[in-house]
């Protein structure tokens, strides 16, 4: 064996040397050193994680373009209080049984000057009361659609559709319209009146059809008035947007025929009833053709 002297010297040295003893509190000291350091590390880890999350959120918020937020429009009512719905519905009769004077009722000044739909104009500040009103009485751009309740609770139904229906029905049954001059003033050409003479057959059932058409309109429609019997039918409507009033009269006349007149005129114009009467008398004559009388 090499280095015998070194090995022997080390053995003797170890034998003579006093080996140190582990103190009794050695383990406790080690544990005390570990415990507080360990908890500190845990706290720092959690704090570092929280700081990282906050940093990411803040950077993300800063980098978010502003227009991204603006793209999401709030769900609000686009209330445009400056648009005029004129004339107001409350100013018009809405009950069919209210009166029989609808045809001769004089419109108010507001109705006379009512614009056509194409002429709806932004309201000026001088007429704030005629704007569309919310239930709470004021307008607010941030009110939700569901919160907006206007007084215009009647859906618009065009009365001219009745005339269109009658015209198609006449065309299908080869009935020619006869124009009537029912104006009181010769210079007034605003009143348009036509007369149709239909055969009173069960297949056509003109009274029934006209009743069906009349029932299609809401009874709250301005100027709504319906009267009918086995011999006569009387139906009126008003178009507040166009400023027109409509009158349809049907009467069973001799020869199993039905005389139907259709008249529409501006609301403030009172058409003459003489023309109806004259034409009606002629049509009640025994020999009646469906041609235009020469004297009319």
């Amino acid at each position: 064996m090499k280095d015998i002297d070194i090995r022997e010297a080390l053995k003797r040295r170890e034998a003579h040397r006093t080996k140190p003893e582990v103190p009794t509190d050695f383990c406790d000291n080690v544990m005390q050193e570990i415990a507080p350091k360990k908890s500190h590390r845990m706290i720092w880890r959690w704090m570092a994680a929280a700081a990282s999350v906050l940093l990411i959120i803040s950077i993300g918020t800063m980098l978010m373009p502003n227009h991204e937020q603006e793209q999401t429009q709030p769900l609000v009512a686009k209330v445009e209080p400056k648009i005029v719905h004129e004339p107001k519905i409350e100013q018009t009769p809405n009950n069919a049984t209210q009166n029989d004077e609808t045809v001769s009722t004089q419109p108010s000044s507001a109705q006379v000057n009512s614009p056509s739909p194409a002429n709806i104009k932004p309201q000026t500040d001088e007429h704030p009361a005629s704007s569309v009103k919310t239930q709470s009485g004021f307008t607010d751009d941030h009110i939700h659609h569901a919160a907006v309740k206007t007084t215009d609770d009647v859906a618009y139904q065009d009365p001219a559709r009745v005339d269109e229906f009658i015209a198609k029905l006449a065309d299908f049954n080869d009935v020619n319209p006869v124009p009537l001059d029912c104006t009181t003033d010769n210079n007034d050409n605003t009143t348009v009146s036509k007369a149709y003479t239909f055969d009173d057959t069960k297949e056509l059932d003109l009274f029934g059809r006209l009743l069906q058409v009349a029932c299609c309109y809401d009874s709250k429609t301005p100027g709504y008035l319906l009267n009918y019997s086995h011999e006569q039918l009387f139906f009126t409507l008003k178009d507040m947007r166009k400023g027109q009033k409509y009158l349809w009269m049907a009467e069973r006349i001799s020869g199993d025929r039905i005389l139907l007149t259709c008249t529409h005129s501006p609301i403030d114009v009172v058409p003459s009833t003489a023309c109806y009467q004259a034409y009606r008398n002629k049509m009640k004559q025994p020999v009646i053709s469906n041609t235009i009388p020469k004297d009319i």
């Binding site: 090499k2 010297a9 080390l10 040295r13 582990v22």
Partner: protein, 185 residues
């Protein structure tokens, strides 16, 4: 260090370490109670003062437990703690500004002069070993007394095995020179 040094208790040590990492801190005590004597004895080879050796041992355990998650089971836990204790000892000795003797230029010796078996030579050798710097004395102790393999000593002292072999050769020459100097006194 590519060599893997495994003691008999490695398997159970690994399970205990995994339990510590899982939150069972009571396992710390088992390691301290099992290995504290060996680590302290190791440290005393470097630190002549017993209190210094105890502080080194304690610091070595604390550092080992704090870095337990990084322990890769390349050696036994005790060897790992001894490695840490060695570094800690060197740091302390450097703070005390101990100067190491350069033995690079020592003359060559005959192998037989270190294997005489004479009583006088052994006594002088014992004195010469006490006069060696701590790290050289530790290297002799680990290699000749504890008869640890060079690869394990290299792991503890964080050096290459070939480097330690060269250092051992120089220490032997240095010891022979110191003995002859004592014989001439």
């Amino acid at each position: 260090m590519s060599e893997i040094i495994i003691d008999d208790q490695t398997d159970s040590e690994q399970q205990r370490i995994e339990r510590i990492l899982g939150g069972k801190h009571e396992e710390y005590a088992w390691f301290v109670n099992t290995y504290s004597q060996r680590v302290l004895h190791f440290a005393s080879q470097m630190m002549s003062d017993v209190e210094d050796a105890r502080e080194v041992s304690q610091d070595a355990f604390v550092k080992a437990f704090r870095s337990l998650a990084s322990f890769n089971f390349q050696s036994s836990f005790c060897t790992w703690v001894c490695r840490i204790a060695y570094r800690e000892s060197l740091n302390r000795l450097r703070r005390k500004q101990l100067h190491f003797v350069d033995i690079a230029d020592l003359p060559a010796v005959v192998e037989d002069e270190l294997s005489t078996g004479k009583e006088e030579r052994i006594a002088l050798m014992e004195e010469a070993i006490d006069d060696l710097p701590p790290d050289e004395r530790l290297l002799l102790h680990l290699y000749y007394y504890e008869e640890r393999p060079l690869r394990e000593i290299a792991y503890i002292m964080d050096a290459e095995s070939n480097t330690l072999a060269t250092r051992l050769h120089r220490i032997r020459k240095k010891l022979l020179q110191m003995i002859k100097r004592k014989e001439n006194e």
